[in-house]
Amino acid sequence: MNRLMPRTLLTPAVLAIAIISIVPLLITLSYAFVKFSLLAPGEHAFHALENFHFFFSDGAFLPALQNTFVLMFSVMFITVLCGAALALLINEAFPGRTIVRIMLISPFLIMPAVNALMWKNMLLNPIYGLFAQVSHLFGLTPVDWLSQYPLLSIIMMVSWQWLPFACLIFMTALQSMDREQLEAAGMDGANYGQKLRYLYIPHLGRAVSVVLMIEMIFLLSVFAEIFTTTGGGPGFETTTITFMIYQQALQSYDIGAASAGALFAVLLANIAAFFLMRVIGRNLAK
């Protein structure tokens, strides 16, 4: 009676979550194994592993895999490093700290598509953009960012957007540090570099793992920036696995191939998460 009552009451909520998360996954699983194209109406014939073969034999697949990892790890690296630096910078109180904090957080609240368009039209444009104007100031020819360094441009945009997230997590982590320990270290003659190495960074370790885990999940599905600026090109330079899934689903209208790609992406995310958990688990246990 004691165990039954809470479980019964929890059942509707658990059921709702299960339906919302498991049912689409099962449907995707079923679509991945049938021939399903919106442009060829008819019965969904069983297609075995054809969809997977089609997705993996795409000329874009290996470049997309590489681009996905490069994008993810570059953004994670930049946000963790700069986020930690910024958080340490604004850790001490100074006049206007509240406003600076709000300004530092705000890029995260911008919609990704708006972010991408702002970068594309106002900053990166080789004729009218801010970077071009600054280049002119120094007498250099402006760089056509989106054509010459497309992946780097995307990395810039996404890092700028995710930096506040990392910064926020690190800020709160730093706030929870033991003040007395810091003061004691100061009194024992530790300079800032030593405090950094022995106190700040170990404390931030946990926050870093949180940031990495969450960013890994969300950066795998970066789409809006690529779609609005380069459309996956030139060639395959900014095509990622997510973008390939979009291309299959909404350009080729091939739901089967897109589902196969989506399952692959899920697998990828799980493998990455598994390794990350192992690494972080070791850190946390220390």
Partner: protein
């Protein structure tokens, strides 16, 4: 007293609500181009003439519109009563039975429609979408610069000749680029132009066995010429330029030659928009072995999906918005320079239109020579000049466009780009079951 007032207001609202319920609401999905925006403004005339029909416009960007409409039609969503579709989708969807045939009323004069446009929008002789806008492509150039260089541009020059003219007028120090062309990847962006270039060298998209032809000699010659022209005499940043961007540059006087949609002629000749309005001249697109397919054919048309909830009201709207009277209405409200062109012979015969539109003759000639049923020098199994009216073409066009932009930027050679495009095209065709 207060209750009486409240009661009266409620009764009034209910009556208003009822009146609205009585009206048929037509949901029209459309692109956000100038002519459709004009149509939305003039929609009130239609509503006045047909008080029981209300128009609801869903305006979207072209790519998004295509996706939404295709998804809606394929899943029988029934969201839209009328759709703005292109001459690319019409044969495909008509063959699938997704569209209702257009039922012209007595005053419509269906024979007034330009023959090539009408052909492209029909299936088995039945019109499935009524055109409200049509275009081809042609050369638009700065007559003053060409004359100053001591040369001229005739109709149908060869590409080598055009390159020489571009070389003579190319003057980046003074901010003038010899030739500006589309470079942005996309089947309706750079591929439209490059496909016509390949056609003009005697090429085609697919041979009679549906094998893609991207690695054939005409394609190699065309893309090599394209990359050469843009590298030597083109503006910087071409890889993100499509129609609107090059138009802005031409209007600023930065381009000597431009090959693009005939509708551009109306913008660059408009003194309100263009700094070089009185200095432009026109010529038919270049040809290097084939005049067939050297200029493209495109049309935006209104069609009724089979899943429409109000097909009769939709037919009425189609008849109104693509009729001769509508063209005259636009002329009255917005001037003859802004009427939708490329649809009816009567527009081109109208003296007032000819007076304001110096490009009318060139545009009419271009549209007349772009035959979607016989688009290339060698026989082709597909309909369409700069596209193939098969559903797989979209993916193939996008992939090929991306590769050509990559060649334009120098990130791959022309041969590499074309062989990647060929691979992607073969994959799609194989998956779609063309090679049994």
């Amino acid at each position: 007293m207060k209750r009486l007032v409240v009661g009266a207001v409620c009764a009034g609202l209910v009556c208003a609500g009822n009146a609205a319920f009585g009206a048929t609401e037509l949901v029209i999905a459309t692109v956000n181009n100038g002519h459709m925006i004009e149509m939305q403004k003039l929609g009130k005339f239609f509503e006045q003439a047909n008080p029981d029909i209300k128009l609801k416009w869903v305006t979207l960007e072209e790519g998004v519109l295509r996706q939404r409409m295709t998804t809606d039609i394929a899943t029988k969503g029934g969201q839209f009563d009328l759709m703005t579709i292109g001459i690319y989708e019409t044969p495909i969807w008509a063959k699938r039975g997704w569209l209702l045939p257009v039922k012209p009323d007595a005053a419509y004069d269906i024979d007034d429609l330009l023959p090539t446009i009408r052909e492209g929008l029909s299936q088995n002789g039945v019109l499935y979408a009524a055109p409200f806008y049509g275009e081809s492509s042609m050369i638009m150039y700065r007559a003053d610069l060409v004359k100053k260089a001591g040369t001229s541009i005739p109709d149908r020059p060869t590409w080598d000749y055009l390159r020489d003219v571009a070389a003579k007028i190319h003057d980046p120090a003074k901010g003038v680029y010899g030739i500006c062309l589309r470079g942005k990847p996309g089947w309706g962006d750079n591929m439209a132009l490059v496909t016509t270039m390949a056609n003009s060298y005697g090429g085609q998209l697919f041979d009679m066995k549906w094998q893609p032809q991207f690695t054939s000699k005409p394609w190699k010659d065309a893309v090599t010429m394209y990359v050469d022209l843009m590298k030597r005499y083109g503006p910087p940043g071409s890889s993100s330029n499509s129609f609107n961007e090059v138009l802005a540059m031409f209007n600023e006087g930065k381009c000597g030659i431009w090959i693009d949609a005939t509708i551009a002629a109306s913008f660059i000749s408009d003194p309100k928009q263009s700094k070089v309005a009185d200095k432009v001249a026109f010529a038919q697109s270049p040809a290097a072995g084939s005049e067939r397919g050297a200029n493209w054919l495109w049309s935006w048309a209104l069609a009724i999906p089979k899943s429409s909830k109000h097909p009769d009201a939709a037919q009425k709207f189609i008849n109104w918005s693509t009729s001769k009277e509508y063209v005259k209405l636009v002329a009255k409200e917005a001037g003859w320079a802004n009427v939708p062109t490329g649809t009816r012979k009567s527009t081109y015969a109208n003296p007032e239109f000819i007076k304001v539109a110096k490009f009318a003759a060139a545009e009419g000639a271009a549209i007349a020579t772009a035959d979607p049923r016989k688009p290339t020098l060698k026989p082709s199994p597909y309909v369409g000049v700069q596209y193939a009216a098969i559903p797989e073409f979209q993916t193939i066009g996008v992939a090929a466009g991306q590769q050509i932009t990559s060649a334009l930027l120098g990130k791959s050679t022309v041969d590499q780009a074309l062989s990647m495009a060929q691979q992607a095209a073969e994959r799609e065709m194989r998956k779609a079951g063309y090679y049994k």
